[in-house]
Amino acid sequence: MSDLPLWTSRVRVIALPGSATVRLDRRAALVCAVLAALLLGLGALALTLGETAITVGQVVSALAGGGDDGVRRIVVQWRLPRVVMAVLGGAALGVSGAVFQSMTRNPLGSPDIIGFSTGAYTGALVASLVLGRSALGTTLGALVGGLGAAVLVYLLAFRGGLQGFRLVVVGIAVSAVLSAVNSYLLVRARLEEAVTAATWGAGSLNGVRWPDVAPVALSLLVLAPACAVLVRRLTVLELGDDHARLLGLGVERSRAGLLVVGVGLIAVVTAVLGPIAFVALAAPQVARRLVAGTGPGLAPAAVVGALLLLVSDVLAQRVVAPGQLPVGVVTGCLGGAYLVWLLGRARRRS
């Protein structure tokens, strides 16, 4: 009797030194590689677009440190940080969404649906409208508001353990209440303050510079390895709490760790850019359909998230050029359309 294959043809088992092996999903790897290439191309394109038309050749020489001083300033100081931020931020949002959706076993269990973004907005509004505005104050307010909402949802949803569905429902409820608070704060604010606050609330990459990128990049340096370690626990948690416990996983501890990482990822992005709709929700779902695989799929979600935010930002800059839309408006439109399509497809199937 010869051994029947254990893995589908898309899985390649690679032997490592010793008796260890690694299973590589070729389709996931291919999807990631293609999307990463697209990301690179689009990133390069984004550097050429704007009020000042710059050729690819000029971009390349500017990146290499040569070329005209003015062009170099535009490319390296203005456009590059924006592109890098879109990539890092989108990736962080995608991973955060994938962590939450996998943990709650629910496609709606995304941090922007379950109160985090709304809470961050509340924090930012309180900081800028009630306590007096400053950029740093808004950032800190968003951080405090978002984390506060996350803790509140966690505490309200916790009943001797955490159920994914309960977390989603409680999150949506908390989100609705905070939305009402946000509307109230905006309505009672002076007009120009309200406009500034609402612009922040849409989520925008406008005017992003290197000092804005630095905190996001540094946080990702810590959070990305944490994700890599926790993803194994996530695959066990996917089997349900009973099975996870029976396999020797500390379920509550793992979930707490995943919550911290998931919230941390979206918190740092939201604090700097404002709440960006739908990337965390849609990126893992789009990635899942492209890869057609199982498991949390953090890497594909990261690449799709980065691509989604970069595409949206290019559109946000070009659609009403020379004016600029907040990127959150574009991601919201794309995400909404995507969700309608998703629901339509699900209905046709059933």
Partner: protein, 287 residues
Amino acid sequence: MVPEKTAAASADPAAPPAASWPPMVLAARDLAVGYGDRPVLHGLDVTITPGSFTVIIGPNACGKSTLLRSLARLLPVERGAVVLDGKDIRSSSSKEVARRIGLLPQTSVAPEGITVADLVSRGRYPHQRLLQQWSAQDERAVRSALRATSTEQFATRAVDELSGGQRQRVWVAMVLAQETPVVLLDEPTTYLDIAHQIELLDLCTRLHSQGRTLVAVLHDINQAARYATHLIAMRDGRVVAQGAPAEVVTAERVEEVFGVRCRVFASPETGTPMIVPLASGAVVAEP
């Protein structure tokens, strides 16, 4: 490893001989467990005979599943302890316990689209470390679990596509891949038709004959008496009787435990006790 007695398995030099499972004494000592303020087990003492195929029977809500889940450390203990080889299982790490006791819960939901081999391979988690995530040993354990449950031919298929009976065997395979000397099964036949029930119980007998200690909760007394080497009868959170099926399944005992009057015959097939409820007035009390 779960070596099946096939040419391929015995030719595998890494496979240990059958019955290589260390005998482990699993016992509950004065065990009290409840949900909230509703006590279910009140100071229960029971010892699972090492190497036995023990079946727990009893009416609904008598604490069968609670006992099984407590033995696998799924439920917090209010008083007493679950003892494995003389040691309170709470004093071991959860991965250590997971390498010794496996349990198939009543219901399991597979992640969407997962393949059979992928699901079964997740049973290897307690044997893996951060830097050694998948080894040849893991692969062998998965393959022999698939063979033992006759699911190897489905390895690359999605679990969602399988029939109920096949799916249940795949979940058993996941527990087997955990390679625990003690395997607990919580009502493994409940959602299966009679052919698949028999198939699963025959599988249990095979696993037992390979040296594992098996404990299952079953509803059907006749099936329990036929397949078990030991029976534990429970009622109201207490053990009413335990021992060989012929000692436990008597007309008086069945009436005492289930509130059902019956006659007991020896099965013409196996000689094991078989109950037939009386034609009228069989039910004497709401259990």
